[in-house]
Amino acid sequence: MGERLLLRGNEVIAEAAIRAGCQCYFAYPITPQAELLEHMANNMPRLGRTFIQAESELAAISMVYGAAGAGVRTMTSSSSPGISLKQEGISYLAGANLPCVIVNVVRGGPGLGNIAPSQCDYFQATKGGGHGDYRLIVLGPSTVPEAGELTMLAFELADQYRIPVMILADGLLGQMMEPVELPDPIDPASLPAKEWATTGAKGRAPNIILSFEMDPEGLKQINDDLQAKYRTITKNEVRYEQTDTDDADIVIAAYGTIGRICKSVVRMARAEGIKVGLFRPITLWPFPTEPLKALSERVDTILSVEMSAGQMWEDVRLAVAERAKTPFYGETGGIVPTPRSILNEVKKHVR
């Protein structure tokens, strides 16, 4: 860890990727993640690494596929409409068990939407997104320092499980600045070799990267293996944060930017004598179902707050079932709920 620097979320994700040993970065420009691209353009060539501004999102994610298949740490980034275009490649990456990191600095949708912060891509990120039965590990940072930490973690998890990992940020987190201590860099040469990668079949049988199997029994086996991997990840990698939940009458469930905003709500509420807690999922997939279920045994109400029409809310309700009330408050279109508006919502549900 070094000195404290004041940096933008987008820059921190880019710099953390470099420090995680990302050797190839491919992307197409889109607001509000342009600074990420620019940081990579300024720094990757200087380090003897690859930066390519791709001709399209399809090309960028396919370049990631090639580089991941060749066994190096690789990343792409975009924002909502661009991530939709990448879904083809993401499905292939998942099917071929390739590790990579994909950053989505989410903006308002659907369609061209706008460039304001939003959480409207939760379904797309956590339920698969492209074609086929697959999952990504999805990490939802709520602060600029956490965006850096989770980017480092994303590369580790991607390699450990041979899976694409998505950082689900939003325009606010990408654009804001906050003090950060950057992690120590990892030397890519120190990373373990990937025996499965297409590095040239010298003295060994050829390695083949593919997501293709014509035989239904064979493809079933591939799917079974994927599902087994997902179960292992669900068992080992759930991450979440609880704030002031011990004595809470009502708990807010919120992730990412809204997760941090709700920390202010907890403080404001407690100053008024309202016992509010916060449950903040950090892994959006695997979703912290069991901890939330346990929490629902002892609180009356779990209020989901999102910058969407209620997407994570579905996972909250699946976890909580009938054990607690599960109201929802959300804003769409790039409107960010303020602490006051969330507190007002909390008060509606307090006896």
């Binding site: 791709a54 001709e55 090309a59 396919s62 090639g66 490649g89 071929a96 297409t198 079949a201 010298k202």
Partner: protein
Amino acid sequence: MSANPKNMVKVFERPASLTDAKFTYCPGCHHGLLTRIIGNVLDELDIADRTVGIAPVGCSVFAYLWYKADSQQVPHGRACAVATGIKRARPELIVFSYQGDGDFASIGTAESIHAANRGENITVIFVNNQIYGMTGGEMAPTTLVDQKTTTTPLGRDPKVAGYPIRFSEMIATLDTPIYVTRQALFDTKHIMDTTKAIKKAFQNQVDGKGYSLVEVLSTCPTNWRMSPVQSNKHVGETVTKVFPLGDLVDRG
């Protein structure tokens, strides 16, 4: 009287760079021939153990089975982008894509042009048989005017579907490519020419020169509804009039 095998001299054998897997191609299709040529070139240049081949979507989707080399099977049309990723990640590898006309010249148009324009140091084999073989004989971007396919049952009408794209000529307008050529396989002379072109396209990459594209006019007897002999004749007499053979760029 039968010859004693012990006294026989082997004059023809499977290239060492190819596996024993049986081709999935139809009789008379040029894919098998072309795969052999690539295998021979990998042998001659002694590069199979540092080569990564890219299998597209189309009839050659199984191309990863043919070579004793690493392979990546990739999304339809994205071969040149994947090749870019591999080559940039590990420049010491020899990377080639093997793509049909639908893959290279239709759904992969952007990837094909921009990899060429960046001058990626890769070798692209573009197999032009003017039809979508695997999905059942639909129109390709290279389908000839009046050619009947399952989606142009009355023949390709330029007023509806435009004219066949001469994609290699488009690539040849770019400043970056080192070598762009169109070859064919309908007779022995042209098989020899194609072999030379493919060897040159790989040698360029070995020498670090940059992007090489070899378009190969190929046959599809099954979907053309022609015999293999008629198909070869069709390429020599008709297809080559629309897609003239020869080098379009040679900056090697």
